[in-house]
């Protein structure tokens, strides 16, 4: 009945006020939820005919809710998702491509890594903010050990790490580096070390695994040697979800590699002075590399007719430069616009600076099945660290497994 009435009055309402309600979904993260609520208020004031309903879910349940709700026709019109999920979602029909003029906007205005929002040449979403990796270090521990500056090269990094590692019996009481293969370190090996050592992890079209070469082997051996040879850390030092970050906040880990998304948590938790530095290099003046990632806003197949128009308007609003500036202040995530990250106020900032500088050379892994591909690299590292497998053999297994995943997606 309601539906029939709505259909009857549709032309009328279109002509009058265009009363449309769209739904926006993201996962639960306090500062983001507050920011979006405020942005919706502003958007609705500018667009009187459009109402935006904002719903959030715990991170662990988010994809599950999306998977179930959209086929039932009750999910979001605009949805927030990790860029690495996009190909999986596209293949299963959870995202629809954006109009062509959006591709031009992305190419022109956004940092290069945002290209990862494209799947098969079509654009499936736009980010508000982006992230990169940097080295967080405990300034107080550094000072106590007589170390003045954060490491510029991996050699310095290992030396500092060894100085700051305290072992009692067979157990560690403090470690120099928070080894976390399932944290950010799988990116560190794949995207940072492989490139620093002179190769690249994937072919340009993202369809072929390339890290099974000299640089790749050097990356995996070098990284696993931090545990096996230099003993500057041990995996699983602190238990739990993000144990490496918790251990750093607890003052038991001197250095970690983490994303800019961790700034807020570390700032709130750490009861010591911490510093942030760009990632160390193979040698002074060596090649720079970083892993960039982002959450993007995409359109689902539920956004049709007048809802699609309204959803696109909302999408443009929450990815505008103005919003990005607000997002940085409110959430602390780096703007995705090329213009904004050139701002010297940002690149000279003691905490944001190293992340912003890294954005210029950061690459995003072209995932087609993020969960499975992450596992490939985590397992490659763990086979060496936990089972003592030869890095060359472990890397070969990983490259084969990942190539199979890519082939299966692109066939």
């Amino acid at each position: 009945m309601k539906k029939a009435l709505a259909l009857l009055f549709l032309p009328l309402s279109l002509a009058l006020a265009q009363n449309v309600t769209i739904t926006y979904w993201q996962y639960e993260f306090r500062s983001k939820v507050e920011a979006i609520n405020e942005l919706i208020r502003r958007f609705e004031a500018q667009n009187p005919g459009i109402k935006v309903v904002h719903q959030t879910f715990p991170y662990d349940a988010f994809q599950q809710k999306v998977a179930a709700a959209i086929p039932a026709g009750q999910g979001p019109d605009v949805v927030n998702l990790y860029y690495g999920w996009a190909p999986t979602w596209v293949k299963a029909g959870y995202l629809v491509p954006l109009p062509d003029d959006w591709i031009q906007r992305l190419d022109r205005d956004f940092v290069a890594m945002a290209q990862a929002a494209k799947v098969g040449g079509k654009l499936y979403g736009v980010p508000t903010a982006v992230r990169s990796l940097a080295l967080f270090y405990n300034k107080d521990l550094f000072r106590q050990a007589g170390i003045a500056n954060p490491p510029k090269t991996w050699e310095e990094f290992i030396a500092i790490g060894q100085k700051l590692t305290v072992k009692q019996g067979g157990r560690f009481a403090q470690i120099g580096y928070g080894i976390a293969p399932d944290g950010q370190d799988h990116h560190l090996v794949r995207e940072v070390l492989v490139r620093q050592f002179g190769s690249k992890p994937y072919s340009d079209d993202g369809k072929r695994v390339l890290y099974q070469n000299e640089a790749g082997l050097k990356a995996l051996s070098f990284y696993t040697d931090w545990v096996r040879k230099h003993e500057i850390g041990v995996p699983g030092f602190f238990p739990g979800n993000n144990g490496y970050r918790d251990g750093f906040i607890a003052g038991r880990i001197a250095m970690i590699v983490d994303g800019s998304f961790a700034i807020g948590t570390i700032q709130q938790g750490a009861r010591f002075n911490f510093g942030v530095a760009e990632l160390p290099l193979e040698r002074a003046g060596g090649r720079k590399a970083n892993f960039g990632s982002f959450w993007m806003h995409g359109l689902t197949p539920l956004a049709t007719g007048p809802k699609r128009e309204a959803a696109l308007k909302f999408l443009a609003f929450i990815t505008s430069e103005e919003t990005q500036r607000y997002w940085l202040e409110k959430v602390g995530e780096l703007p995705a616009s090329k213009n904004l990250i050139r701002d010297p106020k940002l690149s000279l900032h003691p905490v944001y600076g190293p992340f912003v500088l890294s954005l210029a050379y950061a690459k995003a892994t072209p995932f087609v099945d993020e969960a499975a591909q992450r596992k490939v690299m985590v397992d490659a590292i763990n086979r060496v660290l936990l089972q003592g497998m030869d890095p060359a053999q472990s890397l070969r297994i990983a490259a084969e497994e990942e190539q199979r995943i890519l082939d299966q997606f692109w066939r």
């Binding site: 086929p71 999986t88 029909g93 157990r171 995996p235 602190f238 238990p239 089972q387």
Partner: protein, 296 residues
């Protein structure tokens, strides 16, 4: 037509039974058939675009190394966990029954883990089992045993997870056995003692056979529980679920990952059908083998 009172009561009983039956069919049985149907399709959010693939997913089951690993792990969990919790539960119940006082207090303490959320249990145990800060390793050190990696080690992780689950289920098991023990008439023991039986022979010829119904129930429910193991595994190693190196991966967790992290709901449904068949088969075999021995 006139019905007798008994007939009328029976009729009403059926009417009332039909209501929950309808709910059960709709919410339990129907989705099971839908899963069967879904397993024949390539998943797409739009039903009109779901491609019929026939038995393709079942062919993939045969050559999926992760599935084989999950299947093997799940069987290992069951083979370690079910006898483990039944043996421990029985020993504790027998001791408790003999305790002169404090029985309720002990029972409450043993039962507490069972009603604690599995997530909290996993979190606390992951700290207790930590190689560097954990209480368990400190206790081992007192005995002169070097620190063990437990959850960090591909070979120790599965038995460790099993232990956490056994520990959590123990209270329920103890309560079941206590109830079973209470229901055995004292006269049997008195009669046997007059005939000169003691200790082990009392247990072997009276307690054990008369506990059989409880035992059958425990084995069947326990097995089903372990075959569906999920929550503890997920939370004991949250960022590398099923790890390290798939050593703790279970069928239920694999289904979850396929369906909700990788959006392969068709293939996930095929694995679900496999799990369903497995549980059905094992349960039928168990009921057959175990109930045969009840002689009352």
């Amino acid at each position: 037509m006139r019905l007798t009172l008994a007939q009328r009561e029976a009729l009403w009983a059926l009417v009332f039974l039909a209501v929950p039956l309808a709910f059960f069919l709709y919410f339990r049985i129907l989705p099971a058939f839908q899963a069967l149907w879904l397993s024949l399709y390539e998943w797409h959010a739009d039903p009109s675009q779901r491609r019929f693939v026939g038995l393709e997913h079942y062919a993939r089951l045969l050559e999926d190394p992760l599935l084989r690993r999950a299947l093997w792990n799940t069987l290992l969990y069951t083979l370690l966990g079910v006898p483990g919790q039944i043996a421990l539960g029985l020993i504790i119940a027998l001791l408790l029954q003999r305790a002169p006082f404090g029985r309720d207090l002990f029972r409450a303490i043993y039962f507490a883990p069972y009603v604690t959320p599995a997530v909290a249990v996993a979190w606390v145990w992951s700290w207790m089992l930590s190689p560097h800060f954990g209480l368990v390793n400190e206790l081992l050190a007192l005995l002169g045993i070097p620190p063990q990696p437990f959850l960090q080690s591909p070979s120790q992780a599965l038995p460790t997870v099993t232990w956490v689950v056994v520990w959590q289920n123990l209270g329920f098991q103890v309560v079941l056995f206590l109830a079973g023990l209470e229901s055995i008439p004292r006269q049997y023991y008195e009669a046997a003692r007059i005939d000169g039986a003691e200790g082990w022979r009392l247990f072997r010829h009276i307690t054990w056979p008369l506990l059989n119904p409880v035992l059958v129930f425990s084995v069947v429910i326990g097995t089903i529980g372990y075959l569906q193991l999920f929550t503890q595994v997920v939370n004991l190693n949250f960022t590398d679920q099923g790890g390290p190196l798939n050593s703790t991966l279970t069928l239920a967790l694999y289904i979850y990952q396929l369906a909700f992290l990788r959006f392969q709901l068709g293939y996930a449904a095929a694995v679900t059908v496999l799990l369903f068949a497995l549980i059905l088969l094992i349960t039928l075999v168990q009921l057959r083998l175990l109930t045969r021995r009840v002689e009352l």
